[in-house]
Subunit: 333 residues, 2 copies
């Protein structure tokens, strides 16, 4: 009996927001594993802003997804068949599995996850790449000190919500930027942010002045564009800006908007530093341990926005760019 | 007998390039020093790109020059009369004396300079603020390592020429960006740069690719604008960009151009850091000693572009923005 695998394969390089016709929905038999390989039945797929960049035919930190290739994505699932000594049938694993139902991949590319410690979707969020990004981006690049003010944009997203909570754990003042009153209330009431600014309805500069009277010491930027420019006007002496992403710019058809206020870096002897989580791979276990401890102690809360149905992938991905999701956006296969 | 002092006082906030009518040329008796003050006969005045910024009514790292105030400028001269115990008649001093013939200032604001060690104009260039800016900006912020590639813009200017030469002293590859073949030849033939790119006639991206085949490890930016954006496309992994100035933007009437390619910081895990030389004031003596040693050993060459006549100030200042000067632009009073 042959199992059928459904997949989304890149069909076109999108212009602006991606649309369903930029992928082909394909069907083929699941490939049996060769020596060293593992076959995984995918349970949850991670939907990330970075996926938009991978669709462009541009040299970056990873090669673009080729036309005809399965759309790249991280995911968690269960081992169906293993020809790798490190994995057994029934193990739960994380890996770059792609937007599909089954993946047959090199065992070396997989990491075991413990479904008893946290539900599987958490390994795509707080205990996954977004959590690692928040942890290393904030602590290693942002270097916040107790008493300092940390501002994070995309604060209700998978990375941002962890950044603000770690800032609080480290004794900082945490101010989040998010779209909509509901998200802002969630950040303050549920996650313990000191303040949240609704960039859709508030004058961001005025609100930053109000909530960061001594200026912004660390700005963790997930969005770029106008918000980055506005925060640049409010940074404190020796501020550190962490460039993690620029979701406002990924679908731009008129080019990226550069931060016109970048000379504030000079006036304030401040820095702007790009980071990629993969550089910290050998320290993931350390971060995982600490984050799992915070989760267990209730100091760190996690939230996933789970949408069911592989078929919904193209439309579900767009929730990231319209800002509809709160917490980690996950596709349930 | 009263000595007459001539001065340039700010008359208007310039729009775009400053013009003669943005200052008033005034005349008044020299003021006698009070207790603790020193009267200086100014010999040479420093003309710097930053002066343009001081003319704007904008909060920055120093207050703007007020309307009616003597235009701020550094200068060197000779003590005429001293009521400060640290200075005697005939001493040579450096200070923020303003665009005028005489200054009566607090002795605490002056620094003695040794006219036997180097000609006075050198204390406005290589042994002055531009030299200190190059030294600390490159070594402390840029952190170049032997064998790495250092690119500097405004390379034939007072800061840039020192940056490239220190890069060479530290065992780096030095590539300069300057306007015009003559300046470029000077950088390579006289100052020992490995290569110079004439941004006015060359395809900068192509030339950077050619002269920096492993990418740019340190970029010392004096100009901003299009050149900053182009260099961003050629940076190496973990590159450091030092934001020292943005002379291409200071006279813009349509706002500052932000670096649209700033996401290259993310892709390359690179940083962009602003610096101001004043933060290193307590380390100037250390830098002066080392720089004077390099000068004496012939490892570091200095060059000033001296224009005579206080009266020529408004037009002479413009040489900076048209890129006419090679080396430190100095006004001989």
């Amino acid at each position: 009996m042959t199992t059928v695998n459904h997949q989304f394969r890149l069909a076109a390089r999108p212009v602006g927001l991606p649309k369903r016709s930029d992928w082909n929905y394909t069907e083929e038999p699941v490939r049996a594993p060769n020596d060293g390989e593992v076959q995984v039945k995918i349970a949850y797929l991670s939907l990330d802003p970075a996926m938009r960049g991978w669709m462009n035919d541009v040299k970056s930190y990873v090669p673009p997804v080729g036309l005809g290739e399965v759309m790249r994505a991280g995911g968690v699932g269960e081992v169906v068949e293993s020809r790798h000594p490190g994995f057994n049938k029934g193990d739960h694993v994380y890996g770059t599995v792609g937007i599909q139902e089954y993946a047959t991949v090199d065992g070396k590319s997989l990491t075991k996850v413990d479904a008893r410690l946290a539900p599987l979707p958490v390994y795509l969020g707080t205990l996954g790449m977004p959590g690692m990004t928040a942890y290393f981006g904030l602590l290693d690049v942002g270097k916040p000190q107790a008493g300092q003010t940390v501002v994070v944009s995309g604060a209700a997203g998978a990375v941002g919500m962890v950044v603000g909570q770690i800032a609080k754990i480290k004794g900082c003042r945490a101010v989040g930027l998010a779209g909509g009153r509901e998200k802002c209330d969630y950040l303050v009431r549920e996650l313990g942010f000191d303040a949240a600014i609704d960039y859709k309805s508030e004058d961001v500069k005025k609100s930053l002045r109000q909530h960061c009277p001594k200026g912004v010491d660390v700005y963790f930027d997930n969005v770029g564009g106008e918000i980055l420019d506005t925060v640049l006007t409010q940074i404190a002496r020796n501020a550190r800006i962490v460039i993690c992403g620029a979701i406002s710019q990924y679908n731009s058809t008129s080019g990226v908007r550069g931060p016109a206020n970048y000379l504030s870096l000079l006036v304030n002897r401040a820095s702007m530093t790009g980071m990629l989580v993969f550089d910290y791979a050998n320290r993931y276990p350390e971060a995982m341990r600490e984050m799992a401890g915070w989760l267990a102690a209730g100091k760190l809360k996690t939230r996933e926005d789970v949408v069911a149905g592989l078929q919904t992938f193209p439309e579900t991905l767009l929730k990231l760019f319209s800002g509809e999701n709160t917490g980690k956006l996950v596709l349930k296969v």
